[in-house]
């Protein structure tokens, strides 16, 4: 994390309020004194801790929602989406912002394949993902982690997450990007105490950012370290927000809640490739419908040497690594 935690601003000192007793009648003086004392106490309460207690600062208004997404009626969803769209259009000065709620289609189960023989470790997928999914820039949140692996070893402990080379690929290493593996048996969903994260019919594991309590049980349970927590309020590039949003995907997130890769739900459900697939300069990334026998991904799985990360854990990832 780059920036040190922000320091609390010095609480505004309570302004001295003079208790100047009026000279006239006693009863009135008592009355006034009591009022002034009350006012002083009130002023002290409002002045002193305002910096910390100001509720909209602790919890922003947009994340106040009493219903879980799947419990909302279509009318409630429409109403909520309209409210959020208006709010975000004003905040980000962008009239193009729309928040889709496209549901999963029948007969679709998304799968992903990545050619580690081709990957050059350029991290363009990471950059594309950050822009597409409105990931926080301070602190930096990235859903894709590219590991620089030692040749001749699959040991993740020998991998380097923070490699910096003039040119990639480095001849002594190979590269293995890791992101949410969209498990068929996702441990994160199993452990979530409030059903705030769940698997959609098309296999995508999503989070209701308005329902997550931020216990981070899912982050501890994920064997692929694919989930990210908003340790503080996210910040975005000025003017860099992606206006094509999905309610369960790349809409702005909140402090204290979880987020993760959704196979670019706002794109995939609209019939487009994910941002990382489009950004890959060497065509190492493949994406498609596992239920369609004619799809590219099915053919790859059938013809290439395929493996899945930590397959022995029984999580059944729908993210396949392959090499030619």
């Amino acid at each position: 994390m780059s920036a040190p935690p922000p320091r609390p601003r010095a609480a505004t000192a309570p302004q001295p309020i003079e208790l100047r007793p009026p000279a006239e009648r006693v009863s009135r003086r008592d009355f006034l004194r009591r009022t002034t004392q009350g006012a002083t106490a009130l002023a002290a309460i409002t002045l002193l801790p305002r910096d910390l207690l100001h509720v909209p600062q602790i919890f922003s208004r947009e994340d106040f929602e009493l219903r879980h997404f799947v419990e909302m009626s279509p009318e409630e969803v429409t109403e909520r989406v309209a409210y959020l769209e208006k709010l975000y259009r004003e905040r980000f000065h962008n009239d193009q912002i729309t928040i889709a709620t496209i549901p999963a289609q029948d007969g679709v189960l998304w799968g992903y394949a990545l050619n580690i023989g081709k990957c050059v470790g350029c991290r363009r997928c990471v950059k594309a993902c950050v822009g597409e999914n409105n990931q926080s820039r301070d602190p930096q949140i990235e859903w894709i982690r590219v590991l620089e692996m030692e040749k001749g070893s699959m040991d993740l402990e020998k991998s380097n997450h923070y490699y910096e080379h003039e040119r990639v690929p480095d001849p002594d290493h190979y590269y293995m990007p890791v992101q949410c593996q969209q498990c068929e048996n996702p441990p994160c969903v199993k452990v979530c105490p409030t059903q705030a994260t769940w698997q959609e019919k098309d296999g995508i594991v999503v989070v209701d950012y308005n329902w997550c309590i931020g216990c981070r049980f899912c982050l501890a349970a994920c064997p692929y370290w694919a989930r990210r927590f908003n340790w503080t309020s996210p910040t975005y590039h000025e003017g860099g927000i992606n206006p094509d949003m999905h309610y369960l995907g790349n809409r702005p997130r909140f402090k204290g809640t979880m987020e993760k890769c959704t196979f670019c739900i706002q794109r995939s459900r609209a019939g487009r490739y994910t941002a990382c697939v489009e950004a890959c300069p060497v065509g190492a990334r493949k994406f498609g419908n596992l239920l369609d026998p004619e799809s590219e991904i099915r053919k790859l799985i059938a013809t290439k040497r395929v493996f899945r990360l930590k397959e022995e854990l029984g999580t059944h990832p729908k993210f396949f690594y392959f090499f030619d």
Partner: protein, 412 residues
Amino acid sequence: MKVLTFLAASIRIALTGSRRYYAWLLALLSITAVGFYYYLYQLRYGLFVTGLRDQVVWGSYIANFTFLVGVAAAAVMIVIPAYLYGYKDFKPVTLLGEMLASSALIMCIIYVMCDMGRPDRAWHLLPFIGRPNFPSSLLTWDVLVLCGYLFINMFIPGYMLYSRYHHREPNKKILLPFTYLSIPWAVSIHTVTAFIYCGMVSRPIWNTALMAPRFLATAFAAGPALIIIVVQIVRRYTPYGSPGDKFEIPDATLFRIANIVLVAMLISLFFTACEIFTVFYSASSHQAPLEYLYFGLHGHGILRPYIWLALMAMVIATILLMVPRTRKNLVTLNAACILLFAGIWTEKGMGLILPAFIPSPLGEVAEYWPSNPEVVISISIWALGALIFTMLAKIAIQIEVGGTTHPEEGHH
């Protein structure tokens, strides 16, 4: 109505006392207030102000939570001898044990709330109004068993004191079922807490069936050790448990509790040895976290000195408890209890939680150290726990020993 007068009297008792009592309350309250200020700071800026990050997601709060669940469960080690084996001299200790359990449980709940990113949404965990992921998520089980155990441990002493306050004999048919229920329930709270950790395939060091037994063994050592210390403090500053009192707690009773501590401690050390052998001999994927803990990994090893100190403290405490002469001497017994308590707090707190995150599932070694706000908040919750225990004990002692009863009913 009678319950209300009892509650009002209890609050009155808890809020009145000697100068020393007020000074003690004020001291604890000040520490709590500082912690509360830092908690507001944490709410405002998020958990970013802690030392936690995506690599190490749980730290000081969850470590203290885990340890305190054990302290709460340990009350059962007093209840079992008192009610199943009929050790009469244990009965006055049960009251303190139950109040200690209640205080520890309240601390547990506060620690969990402090660890939450969104405490304002804690109600999502509750049945009917929220959407608890029951029975799949162990955390929902934990909410259930912790609340249940808190209720039992508030109800039993509460009902006894209520009866005494209103000049009645407590109904054994109400009291005994709850007392017996508290025994398996105590085991359940620590088992469920252990299952939270050992059910995760992502963290090999936790993914062992030894977790729950080890939790119970350490709990049954640390909890009664704390009770031994607390009994002596109560005996010294209040009439409760003093020689000649109806509720006398003689030294002999403390030595008997020390026997329980010793057995639990030996089992616990045995479990630690089993774990160390299995992990290091087989040199499996479990090894890296324990290697980090005991020897350091890739030049990182903040915990190394602490875990060795903790192990040493536990071994010294065990020896002190094993030798009859040092066990039956209050000075050496207290030394053993303090060493053991600190040792288990380290081993089972940070020593259990942190290595699971180091290295991360993708092999990254990122260390954690609690930030200042986190340390202040953690300490202040201990102060708050002491405050709660003090007030609960004050109420109990005033009614049981001080003879504070309902003023009018008393004349009959």
